[in-house]
Subunit: 467 residues, 2 copies
């Protein structure tokens, strides 16, 4: 009996080998498409089905790629050749909301946005807010330790995960963590699994922290600066003034010009195309006072400042930031990078980007979560009409420039990925950041969880050379 | 050459075999004293000396117990028989404070209080606030993932640690984490090491997050209730009202009677000895409004409420809580337990404690960090004048009652240690909480870091049977 026959025998209608289905799960939102074709897609509807899939994978030594909504940006959930793609999208129930304990218990396929809708009835929210929140899953948020716009103030996903239920490589069930706010019994496997990108186990249930919705009005500030250095310096001054805005987004002039051209003069709110744009939101009971302080800092730093307290005009300002990806995507396939540097080094990182761009001749439009030093430099890969529906090919010249970006970020005390993960696309730089000792330890931890190497092989670590 | 000769040859004046010194490091603040006598105390002053110690320990297969200020409450840093006690107390420099990045880089022996003093000059603070903060080290806070009074609002130690430098069992150096707010390159070894109680490596440097000092005035509320059930219910109602006080401490009637008797009528601020006491602090720009809401909730829940906004009278109310340990210690050796339950189960846990106390005849005075469901039930062990300076012996009857407490906490969805750690004193219950799969994984992770089993053996895990 083959692995596929066994899957079909045990999981029947949950197993698909429809070529369109198989082709679709080879890609995520990074633009990368796995070569070859996966063996099958298992759309699990229960923990038991996940366990059965892993038992079969172990028995037949077949790789398993766990997948949620497929919104990843690092190629970490793409169906590789011969792999079982284990979709948990149908495991999308909110199992319980416990307002008195400020937590929710969910299956991994619940959309972040759906969880937030359900929590809002109790005056609660789930703080992790990747830009994909409307269509990304909580399981995927956890598997990548997703960030977002609000992290500097409200934390990353790791800080919102209390407990996990995980199916291990051999199909056994592991429970980690606590339903309590605190708990120090044993090693923190919940944190180890958060951000492990499907390489240690399959998350089948999560207990997540819910927060009280922040009271008070949100104040939105848009500030334009002549250049990105001034805008970055202004964001550093805001932090130095001990302000912690809920949102602080920076758009560099290269990206801003594309956005303004894309939106047109009306929708771009009169934001001039020539400069850099800084978007700041304050919230909470002191939002007005904090906004006043922020405005003073931004003006002193040379910004032309506009303030909105009504939701509608605030939305219009936010729309400028939200248009970044569509504006870029109108010009080609977009490779989004994701470096992060200490906040004080933001201006220097922008300098390095400009320098790499000038030297390579590649435009690198960049947006940044300035509140936490996380930059998304983008590379535009012109459409190739000849490729049809095939995968876009990132030119080696672009990878070389991306590699220079990563090294620049490391030199400034930063990291090669702030929130998207290593996936397939950044694994070649992993050892450089971790160092030999750290890299070796991480590989050995992987082997503890996955001795046969069947869990998402090729993600995070380079595939082992075949014998 | 013996291990001791080699230590002396390489580390000369940093090695002590003074019997008083050796005896002193056998104990921590738990009351537990390790049997036998350690081999030597190495007081390291540099990373290189830590590395040399570990290399020698590896070569001679000698256990190493890393120790900071010795303020632990679980027996996790006590010099066991024949072990090298590696003290990092002298590594107490603050290496840098970077206000613009809201972080500090410190050696492990820095006192939490000293770091806070240094940070305050920049309008910053280090949020982890164990009750021992004046005399416990940052390295110890990290090794135990210390909690404290402010966790529900400001997080536990794990959330304040960005990066670590760690000496591994073989003397090699590992760097983990980032100086950035976000970073998802590889597995989160920083979180894995936080709370690992000296069993995975020796922390020799930490990059920690500093927070802007919370602006606004702090309002302190003292509320007395006829019984602990009502006080616990009131604390649950505060959370349900979506309030998140900075501090919410509960003292049960058994503990309160001892405190009031200890302080006398004047110092105990007229708090009646017959009931339970709930201490609440709100802070931040909306502290007055939040305090008003809290007072309304507490009164509706049957509390007799007093409010202080001046620092002096607030301090007097806080002094009632602070007197808990001295009041108990006046009656005997104190075994402090540390269970944690979901906040909504707090009243039930108090019921279970009362029931265990009634059945065993042991008084169990209890204080709780009610904001996060973390209870400290205490056992009093009468002084035995015959024992002199020898270790207090916890009667088997007390351990049996403690075991019942742990099981009750687990049944309520809680954990056996909220913030003190497993150490030696709770290791016998570890497997029960983790389950076989989790326990086995944790042991194998330990083996990846420490294949020879020389790092703090007997802490967290039962010692392996000798061949």
């Amino acid at each position: 009996m083959t692995a596929l026959e066994r899957l079909t025998a045990e999981l029947g209608p949950h197993v698909s080998v429809d070529p369109r289905h198989l082709a679709a799960v080879r890609a995520d939102k990074s633009g990368w498409v796995a070569p070859g074709m996966p063996l099958a897609v298992v759309s699990a509807a229960s923990v038991e089905q996940v366990q059965a899939t892993l038992r079969i994978a172990t028995e037949f030594r077949v790789p398993v790629v766990t997948r949620g909504a497929g919104t990843g940006l690092a190629g970490g959930a793409c169906g590789t050749n011969g792999a079982i793609v284990l979709s948990v999208e149908r495991m999308n129930r909110i199992l319980s909301i416990q307002p008195e304990d400020e937590l929710a218990v969910v299956e991994p396929g619940v959309l972040n946005g759906d969880l937030n809708t359900a929590l809002s009835a109790h005056g609660l929210w789930f703080a992790p807010d990747p830009a994909s929140r409307a269509f990304s899953t909580v399981g995927g948020n956890i598997a990548t330790n997703a960030g977002g716009l609000l992290c500097a103030k409200y934390g990353v996903t790791r800080e919102a995960v209390l407990a996990l239920t995980v199916v291990l490589a051999d199909g056994s069930l592991l429970e980690t963590g606590h339903r309590t706010v605190k708990g120090v019994t044993g090693y923190d496997l919940t944190a180890l699994l958060t951000g492990s990108e499907g390489t240690l186990g399959v998350i089948v249930q999560a207990t997540v922290r819910a927060r009280a919705i922040t009271p008070g009005e949100t104040v939105t500030i848009g500030a334009t600066f002549p250049d990105v250095a001034q805008a970055a310096a202004a964001s550093t001054l805001l932090t130095a003034a001990r302000l912690r805005p809920a949102v602080m987004e920076l758009i560099d002039p290269v990206a801003l010009a594309l956005i303004v051209a894309h939106l047109g003069p009306h929708l771009s709110q009169g934001v001039p195309a020539g400069g850099a744009f800084l978007l700041v939101q304050t919230d909470g009971p002191a939002s007005r006072a904090e906004a006043d302080q922020a405005v003073a800092v931004l003006r002193a730093a040379g910004g032309a400042v506009r303030v909105s307290t009504d939701a509608e005009s605030a939305d219009r300002l936010l729309a400028v930031r939200r248009a970044a990806h569509p504006a870029l995507a109108a010009h080609g396939d977009v490779l989004i990078e994701d470096v992060c540097v200490p906040r004080s080094r933001l201006a220097e990182m922008f300098e390095r980007i400009a320098e790499i761009s000038a030297r390579t001749g590649l435009p690198i439009p960049t947006v940044a979560h300035a509140g936490d030093g996380n930059l998304h430099p983008n590379f535009l890969i012109p459409f190739d009409p000849a490729r049809g529906s095939a995968a876009p090919v990132v030119p080696e010249q672009v990878w070389a420039a991306a590699g220079e970006l990563f090294r620049a970020a490391l030199e400034l005390g930063g990291t090669l990925t702030g929130e998207h993960g290593v996936g397939v696309l950044k694994r070649r730089w992993l050892a450089e950041e971790l160092g030999d000792t750290g890299f070796d330890l991480q590989r050995r931890i992987k082997e503890v969880f996955d001795p046969l190497g069947i869990l998402n092989p090729g993600t995070m670590f380079e595939p082992k050379a075949r014998r």
